[in-house]
């Protein structure tokens, strides 16, 4: 895969919609996402965040409309070809039973070596890089299931890094973590995105977290995009009311001065 020029559009979504069991989960949506930026997907439960990110990961096919990845229709990618461009982490990471961290991260090389290909020195090197970037070298030979929630989430991130993609799709990577680990993981994602120039689309429950770590926030409500903008634009009482349907206020952070929302 040749690295595409950095000004190329990462995702171009053209009136993509999704229907499950006769119910429209995602209304036709038009959206363009630039590379090397962090997008936060926010919205209430059932607003279609997870559906949208699954469409982007091609875990589900849109009912109508088209999704283009790096200028090509996402249908036209082969299984492994797509996995070399996009890495996806599901909302609930399954238990990696009796697998060490290094082995889990090594699976990230599957799109490159395939079912029968050799696990080359290059593959091994990239695994080590991913481990060191996520600060997991010390834990590399521990069993994944013996790690704490935050460490496990880092291990999965490392696997996605080893995949060496242009884009990471994260579905609520912090939902099971306490606040310290949430900050830990999101800061890591932001640093990695800056360092490697990878685009990140991350579903987040907490709009304050999204505002703190994302370049841009996309808000969904009932399957429709109701807002899109910088954190400063989104963290506004009227906007928040449109997104969550409850009265919320905004106050400046006592130290940084960045806006923080609260339930009024």
């Amino acid at each position: 895969m040749k690295p595409a020029s950095s000004d190329q559009i990462l995702y171009d979504i053209e009136s993509a919609s999704f229907i499950a069991g006769g119910r429209t989960i995602l209304e036709p949506l038009d959206l363009e996402l630039a590379p090397a930026r962090i997008y936060g997907l926010v919205g209430a439960n059932g607003s279609g965040k997870t559906t949208l990110i699954k469409l982007l990961a091609y875990q589900q096919k849109p009912a109508a409309g088209a999704i283009r990845l790096l200028g090509r229709s996402i249908d036209s990618y082969g299984d492994r070809e797509l996995a070399r461009c996009v890495a996806y982490m599901p909302q609930f990471t399954p238990p990696a039973e009796s697998m060490t961290v290094r082995e889990l991260v090594g699976l990230g090389r599957f799109p490159w070596h395939g079912t029968l290909g050799r696990f080359s020195a290059d593959d091994a090197a990239r695994v080590e890089i991913a481990l060191s970037q996520t600060d997991l070298l010390v834990l590399a030979d521990r069993l994944v299931d013996s790690l704490s929630g935050g460490e496990r989430q880092r291990a999965w991130l490392a696997m996605m890094l080893a995949q060496d993609t242009r884009c990471l799709l994260l579905d609520e990577p912090t939902s099971a973590l306490d606040i310290a680990h949430q900050v830990d993981v999101l800061a890591l994602v932001r640093d990695l995105s800056r360092e490697r120039g990878i685009g990140v689309i991350v579903v987040l429950h907490d709009v304050n977290m999204a505002a703190r770590y994302c370049d841009e926030i996309i808000a969904l409500r009932s399957g429709r995009m109701v807002a899109r903008g910088t954190p400063e634009e989104i963290l506004h009482p009227d906007m928040l009311d449109r997104i969550y349907g409850i009265a919320m206020g905004v106050t400046p952070h006592p130290v940084t001065g960045a806006p923080i929302s609260y339930v009024a």
Binding site: A57, Y58, Q59, G78, D79, R80, E81, L82, A83, R84, V86, A87, Y88, M89, P90, T93, P94, P95, A96, E97, S98, M99, T100, E103, L107, G108, F110, P111, T115, L116, L143, D145, S146, Q163
Partner: protein, 657 residues
């Protein structure tokens, strides 16, 4: 979701009407003879066979439904019922044993014998799963294990005692043919007693449907009430079992159908479930009579209810509301890994070889223990070698199938035995036997393979469509297990030559293995495990779930299909040689993992070798334990494997608190 009334009450009216019509047809057939004269045979048949049969069907249906309802309530387990808890199988084993060893007791009170067997089965299951807080999946799994083992033991008893006990197996199918009013009356007064007790215990029962803490909060003395009600349910169920045999699924279906028909409160269910149960069994029995030809009934009613109930359970699964217990899925990983896995694999291989050599040379003779050598050895080897080889090949195949199934379903408790793949192979074999009379090994294998494949495919499709979690997937397996067992029981109940073939197969005997079997077994092991080794990476990725596998670019559907076909074939071959119930496919992968083999290929090879080792040991034990008699190797292996399953279940809860 069950709470929504999705089945109209009119449906039950219609079904009741249909059952009445079928009954009237029987009456119409018999009445002319009965009304002819006051003392004729026709009258005897009418009053002492036709009428009591209808009464027994209604009463037994109601009693089983009530027993099922009570058990489900008390264990908070929508799948509890006499057959899933092993009560019926326990009763059957107790009666088979008593018939041989204590015929007087059997003469005196078969009901008591059955009750003792049933209560022993329940006590075993409850004590085994106590540590897991009687969590539903563990209870039902333990129940299945007890039932399978009891069935195999019964089959072995029947085989060892020939014609003498064969009628017991026909009884096992639950035939409702009656000769007097005695069974109907016996069941009737148990039912009345049980119903009265249930009404009296209505309030504690309602509270016991909550979790333990709330129940204790509300001042119910938990254990005493629980045991009382369980004993009551077992009493009703084993009475039915003693009088007419094993009738599966009525106890499961009736309460669930009552809920689906809109019975919300316990009081409503107490009335609705027995009524529905009575209608169900009466209707089934009517259909069985309708289908019976001049040569008698083709299938016993009990087998027919299982044939209807299995699909019903599968349909119910996604609709059942269950208490969600902490998931079992993450509960069994071992905490360590060996540093040199392949050395360990080689050691296990050497162990298997040593076991094989010991099995070949060491044996019990009329003069005690001896080590064969020289000409004695060559003489004995031609008998012993094929058996050992077949056992080893079957164990290896099961080990491989277990690893594949556990990894493909990401479910540490899945295995060919638990998911019903083994009994599926048996159903396929039964079909081939029915069609072809005495088919050759190739045809038998084809039938088994098709049966196994059908079951595994059904489970995976159900799992994918209903989005079943690991627990419900196991329930689907239990349903299919019961379904295929019903087919087997029905064919065995025919009582002809094919029945003996199936009975022998069911008990898992290798005593007739010859050089051809050994050759076929090893060829299958080689042919099936080679592609698995090549595709090791799929086995590595798939346990992480479909989403992850797809995100990594794995062709998920193709990979699953390929692996499942291989696993089904391996299970079918293994079941052909050692019967359906060894549990080796469950234990071998776990042992391999416990010993520290984590990566897919090491895990696979380790599990194959461990499976072979365990099977060789089981074979040797089955030859030695009751010398000069030979016990079925499958039975022995399951006695080794069953307790391990329970141990696994018990371990899970500690890990997750």
């Amino acid at each position: 979701m069950v709470e929504r009334a999705s089945l109209p009450i009119g449906l039950w009216g219609a079904m009741g009407l249909l059952a009445t019509l079928l009954f009237m047809q029987q009456v119409g057939l018999q009445w002319p003879a009965a009304s002819a004269g006051p003392t004729g045979l026709g009258q005897v048949i009418f009053f002492y066979s036709v009428l009591p049969r209808a009464a027994v069907a209604l009463l037994a249906g109601a009693a089983l439904a009530l027993a099922g309802l009570l058990l489900q309530r008390i264990l908070r387990n929508p799948l509890a019922e006499p057959s899933t808890l092993g009560i019926s199988a326990g009763a059957q084993l107790a009666m088979a044993t008593a018939t041989i060893h204590a015929p007087l007791l059997m003469e005196y009170s078969p009901g008591l014998v059955a009750f003792v067997g049933g209560i022993a089965a329940v006590a075993l299951i409850l004590s085994l799963t106590w540590r897991r807080g009687l969590e539903p999946v563990s209870v039902v799994l333990a129940g299945m294990m007890v039932a399978l083992t009891a069935n195999a033991a019964s089959a072995a008893l029947i085989l060892a005692n020939g014609e003498y006990l064969f009628s017991l197996f026909i009884w096992g199918g639950g035939s409702l043919v009656q000769q007097s009013w005695y069974p109907a009356l016996t069941i009737a007064w148990r039912l009345v007693f049980g119903f009265a007790a249930a009404v009296l215990l209505l309030r504690p029962l309602a509270i016991l449907g909550l979790d333990d803490a709330s129940a204790r909060n509300l001042g119910v003395s938990l254990h005493a009430t629980r045991f009382l009600i369980i004993a009551l349910a077992v009493w009703m169920a084993t009475t039915v079992a003693a009088e007419i045999g094993i009738i599966g699924f009525v106890g499961l279906a009736a309460p669930a159908l009552a809920a689906l028909s809109g019975a919300r409160s316990l009081k409503q269910k107490l009335v609705a479930a027995p009524v529905i149960g009575a209608i169900l069994l009466w209707l089934t029995d009517g259909l069985v009579q309708l289908a019976s030809g001049p040569g008698g009934e083709r299938i016993p009613t009990g087998a027919a209810t299982a044939l209807l109930g299995g699909p019903l359970l599968l349909w119910l699964l996604p609709r059942l509301r269950m208490f969600e217990w902490p998931s079992l899925a993450a509960s069994t990983s071992s905490g360590r890994r060996v540093s040199r896995p392949w050395v360990l694999v080689i050691l296990i291989g050497i162990g298997a070889l040593v076991a094989a050599v010991v099995g070949l040379l060491v044996g019990k003779g009329p003069a005690g223990w001896s080590i064969a050598s020289g000409t004695v050895m060559t003489d004995l080897a031609q008998w012993r070698a094929p058996r050992i080889a077949v056992a080893a090949a079957a164990g290896g195949l099961l080990g491989a199938a277990g690893v594949v199934i556990q990894r493909v379903t990401s479910n540490p408790l899945a295995s060919p035995e638990v998911l019903g793949v083994g009994t599926g192979a048996g159903a396929g074999l039964a079909a081939v036997l029915l069609l072809a009379g005495m088919p050759g090994l190739a045809w038998q294998l084809t039938g088994s393979a098709i049966g196994a494949l059908a079951v595994l495919a059904a489970i995976l499709i159900l799992g994918a469509r209903g989005n079943l979690g690991p627990e419900r997937l196991l329930f689907a397996g239990i349903a299919l297990n019961a379904l295929c067992s019903a087919v087997l029981t029905a064919v065995i109940a025919l009582g002809n030559v094919q029945s003996y073939v199936l009975l022998r197969w069911l008990s898992g005997s290798t005593s007739e293995a010859g050089a051809v079997h050994a050759l076929v077994g090893f060829a299958a092991l080689l042919v099936l495990s080679t592609p698995l080794l090549v595709l090791g990476r799929w086995l590595e990725v798939l346990p992480l779930g479909d989403a992850t596998a797809r995100a990594l670019g794995l062709p998920v559907r193709a990979a699953r299909t390929t692996l499942v076909v291989i696993a089904a074939l391996a299970s079918a071959f293994a079941a052909m040689f050692v019967g359906p119930l060894s549990f080796i496919g469950l234990i071998a992968p776990h042992l391999a993992r416990l010993l520290g083999l984590g990566r897919a290929r090491q895990h696979l090879v380790g599990s194959i070798l461990l499976g072979a080792l365990l099977m060789i040991v089981s074979d040797w034990l089955s030859r030695m334990a009751a010398f000069p008699y030979q016990l079925p190797v499958g039975l022995f292996a399951s006695l080794l494997g069953g307790p391990y399953l329970i141990y696994l279940l018990g371990k899970g809860v500690q890990r997750h608190g």
